[in-house]
C-alpha cells in the first residue's frame, strides 16, 4: 500500500549543523500523527520538509505518490494536497478574513470567485468565525486568527493537514478553541501531522506519537504506550520534565 507521507533517509543541514539525521517517517491515509520533542529537536524542520518550505539535502520525501524533487509543477501540486497551519497564523493582513480564504483558491486552483467565496464561507462557518468574515486579521483574537488560518488551509481541499505548533503562540484561554477545531477535523477523517506540546490533544486524537530529539526519531508508539510506558531513556526524561512543569 502507498503511504500518504513516505519519508526515507532524510538528512538536512543548516551549514555545519545536522538538523535531521536519517529520518524515516511514514503516515498512512487518515492517520493522525503527533510529533513531539524538546525545542531544537528538528520536529518543525521535518514538517517543513514535507511541503518543501525547507529543502532536504539527501533522502526521499514522497507525498501521495509524488516525489518532492526539483519539479516545480509537482511541488505546487503537493502544496495544494498538503495544507499547512503555522505557529504565527501567517494570515494576509491586508485582506479580510473572507478574502484570506477565497483568494488563495482563485490564485492557485483557478476557482471562480463565486465558488471560492462560497467555500470560504462554508469553512469559516465550520470553524465558527463566519461572523468575523468581513474583518481584517489584525482585528481578531489569536484564537480566531488561528481558526481562520485553518479554514484558509481547508479551503484548498487538502488531503493532508500539517500543523506546525498551532497553539504555541496563543494565550492559554484560546488554546482550547483551536484544539477543538483540530479534534473536529480529526474526527472527520483528515490525515494529520501535528507538531505540538499539547499532550492532552495527543492522547485524545493521535494514532501514533513520534518522539524526536537531536534530529532523530527516538521513539514511535501509540499515545497510551508512549505516555504510560515510554521505552527509550530519552523520551522518559522528556516526559518526566513535562510532568514536573
Amino acid at each position: 500500500m502507498t503511504y500518504a507521507i513516505d519519508v526515507q533517509g532524510l538528512n538536512k543541514y543548516y551549514g555545519a549543523f545536522h538538523a535531521l539525521r536519517d529520518v524515516d517517517f511514514c503516515v498512512s491515509e487518515r492517520e493522525r500523527v503527533v510529533i513531539c520533542g524538546p525545542s531544537g529537536s528538528g520536529k518543525s524542520t521535518l514538517i517543513r520538509c514535507l511541503n518543501k518550505l525547507e529543502s532536504h539535502d539527501s533522502g526521499h520525501v514522497v507525498i501521495r505518490g509524488i516525489e518532492l524533487g526539483d519539479n516545480l509543477r509537482d511541488l505546487d501540486e503537493i502544496r495544494r494536497e498538503a495544507g499547512m497551519v503555522f505557529q504565527h497564523f501567517n494570515l494576509f493582513p491586508h485582506l479580510t478574513v473572507l478574502e484570506n480564504c477565497a483568494l488563495p483558491q482563485i490564485l492557485s486552483r483557478k476557482t471562480s470567485r463565486k465558488e471560492a467565496e462560497e467555500r470560504a464561507r462554508d469553512y469559516l462557518d465550520r470553524v465558527q468565525i463566519l461572523g468575523q468574515a468581513a474583518k481584517f486579521p489584525g482585528q481578531l483574537s489569536g484564537g480566531q486568527q488561528q481558526r481562520a488560518a485553518i479554514a484558509r488551509a481547508l479551503c484548498m481541499k487538502p488531503k493532508i493537514m500539517l500543523f506546525d505548533e498551532p497553539t504555541s503562540a496563543l494565550d492559554p484561554e484560546m488554546i482550547g478553541e483551536v484544539l477543538d477545531t483540530m479534534v473536529a477535523l480529526a474526527e472527520g477523517g483528515m490525515t494529520m501531522v501535528v507538531v505540538t506540546h499539547e499532550m492532552g490533544f495527543a492522547r485524545r486524537v493521535a494514532d501514533r506519537v513520534v518522539y524526536m530529539e537531536a534530529g532523530e526519531i527516538v521513539e514511535t508508539a501509540t499515545p497510551d504506550a508512549f505516555f504510560d510506558n515510554p521505552q527509550d531513556e530519552r523520551s522518559q526524561r522528556f516526559l518526566s520534565r513535562l510532568v514536573k512543569a
Partner: protein, 355 residues
C-alpha cells in the same frame, strides 16, 4: 467657579500676561515673534495693501506693490503655455483626467489589473486630446505643449512608468539570482549617482547625436524617459524597503497554499510592501513633481518656464516675483494634496490593525 475675590476679566489679562511674559523663555519667544511680525509688515503691504488686483493698463502696476492683475491677465499663458487658446479646453480635460487617475491610483481598493487598464486608457485619451490630429481635433505639436498639463503629465507619467521598472529592480535586488541582483544594483546606483540635470542633458541633447538621424524621438518624450529612469531608481529603493519589512511567514504561507510566484508577488507581497512604505513613496512623489521644473533647462515648456517667460513681457513692469509666487502656490497645492491624501491612506490602513 474660580476665586470669587478676583474679577474674571483681570484674571484673563493676568493669564495672558503670564503666558507671554511669565518666564525668560516666554519673553524671548514673544519678542522674537513680535520682531518677525513687524519684519513681515512691508511684505504684507506689498502683497495685500499696496497690491494692484485689477488694472486698466499694465502701466498702473509701476506704482509699486504686487501686481496680481498680471497673473489674471497671463493666467492662460502660465497654465497652458503656447497651447493654442481656442484648444485649451483639451488641456483642461487632460488636467482633470490626470487628477482623476491619481486619485483612483492612491486608493488601495483599486490596486490590481483593472487599474493598469484604466491607466492605459487614460494615457491614450490624454495623448489624443493633447496631440490631436484625429477625431476632428486640430493637431498641436509637442513644442506647443506647455504649462500645467506638461508639468502634471511629466510628473504622473514618469512616476507611473517608473513604477513597474522599480518593482522589477527591487525584486531583482532582493532576489537569489546573482546576475539579476548585480544588474539591479548597478542600474540603481548609476542612476542615483547622477544629478537629474545631467540625465536631462543626456536625454535632450546627447541622445539625438548618438541615434541614427532618421530616428526622431520627440524631445518631450526623451525628457520623460530621463525622468522615468530617475524616478525608477529612487522608487526601487523605497519598494525594496517595503519588501524587507515583509515577514517571511507571508511568503511561506503563500508557498504552502501553492500560489504561483508571480501571483504571490502581485496579490500578497506588493500590496503589503507598498502599504508599508507610503510615507517615503509620498516623499518621492512630491520630489518628482518638483523635479519636473528642471526640464526648463533643456527647453521643455513646463509651468515654471511658462511663468518665467510670461514675466518677460515688456508691457508689464517685470512682475517675476508675482509669477514665481503664483507658480509656487500651485506647486504647494499639488504637493500638499499628495501629502494629505497619503495621511488619509495611512489612517485607513492603521484602522485595520485595531478593532
Amino acid at each position: 467657579m474660580a476665586n470669587p475675590n478676583i474679577p474674571a476679566k483681570r484674571s484673563a489679562i493676568h493669564r495672558l500676561f503670564t503666558l507671554l511674559f511669565g518666564d525668560w523663555l516666554s519673553i524671548l519667544l514673544t519678542v522674537l515673534s513680535l520682531g518677525i511680525v513687524i519684519g513681515l509688515v512691508p511684505a504684507f503691504n506689498w502683497a495685500v495693501l499696496d497690491a494692484h488686483w485689477t488694472v486698466a493698463s499694465p502701466a498702473e502696476c509701476r506704482a509699486g506693490g504686487a501686481c496680481w492683475a498680471f497673473i489674471s491677465a497671463k493666467l492662460n499663458f502660465i497654465l497652458f503655455g503656447l497651447y493654442p487658446p481656442e484648444e485649451q479646453w483639451r488641456a483642461i480635460i487632460v488636467v482633470i483626467v490626470i487628477v482623476m487617475l491619481v486619485l483612483a491610483t492612491l486608493s488601495p481598493k483599486m490596486w490590481g489589473g483593472r487599474l493598469l487598464v484604466l491607466w492605459a486608457a487614460g494615457i491614450a485619451v490624454m495623448l489624443v486630446l493633447m496631440n490631436g490630429g484625429i477625431l476632428g481635433l486640430a493637431y498641436v505639436p509637442t513644442s506647443k505643449w506647455g504649462g500645467l498639463p506638461v508639468t502634471l503629465l511629466l510628473a504622473v507619467l514618469s512616476l507611473g512608468l517608473a513604477f513597474p521598472f522599480a518593482i522589477v529592480l527591487a525584486l531583482g535586488r532582493r532576489g537569489s539570482l546573482p546576475v539579476m541582483r548585480n544588474v539591479s544594483i548597478f542600474i540603481i546606483e548609476i542612476v542615483r549617482g547622477l544629478p537629474l540635470v545631467g540625465l536631462l542633458f543626456v536625454a535632450a541633447i546627447l541622445l539625438p547625436l548618438f541615434l541614427p538621424p532618421d530616428w526622431t524621438i520627440d524631445k518631450l518624450g526623451r525628457t520623460l524617459a530621463a525622468l522615468t529612469v530617475f524616478a525608477a531608481a529612487y522608487l526601487a529603493e523605497v519598494i525594496r524597503g517595503g519588501l524587507q519589512g515583509l515577514p517571511s511567514g507571508q511568503i511561506e504561507a503563500s508557498q504552502a497554499l501553492g500560489i504561483p510566484y508571480w501571483r504571490m508577488v502581485w496579490h500578497i507581497v506588493l500590496p503589503q510592501a507598498i502599504q508599508k512604505v507610503i510615507p517615503p513613496l509620498t516623499n518621492t512623489a512630491i520630489v518628482m513633481v518638483k523635479n519636473t521644473a528642471l526640464v526648463l533647462i533643456v527647453g521643455v515648456f513646463d509651468m515654471l518656464s511658462a511663468a518665467r517667460s510670461a514675466a518677460t513681457d515688456p508691457a508689464w513692469p517685470g512682475p517675476s516675483t508675482e509669477a514665481y509666487l503664483f507658480v509656487a502656490g500651485i506647486y504647494f497645492v499639488i504637493c500638499y494634496g499628495i501629502a494629505a491624501y497619503s495621511r488619509h491612506l495611512e489612517a485607513g490602513i492603521n484602522s485595520r490593525n485595531h478593532s
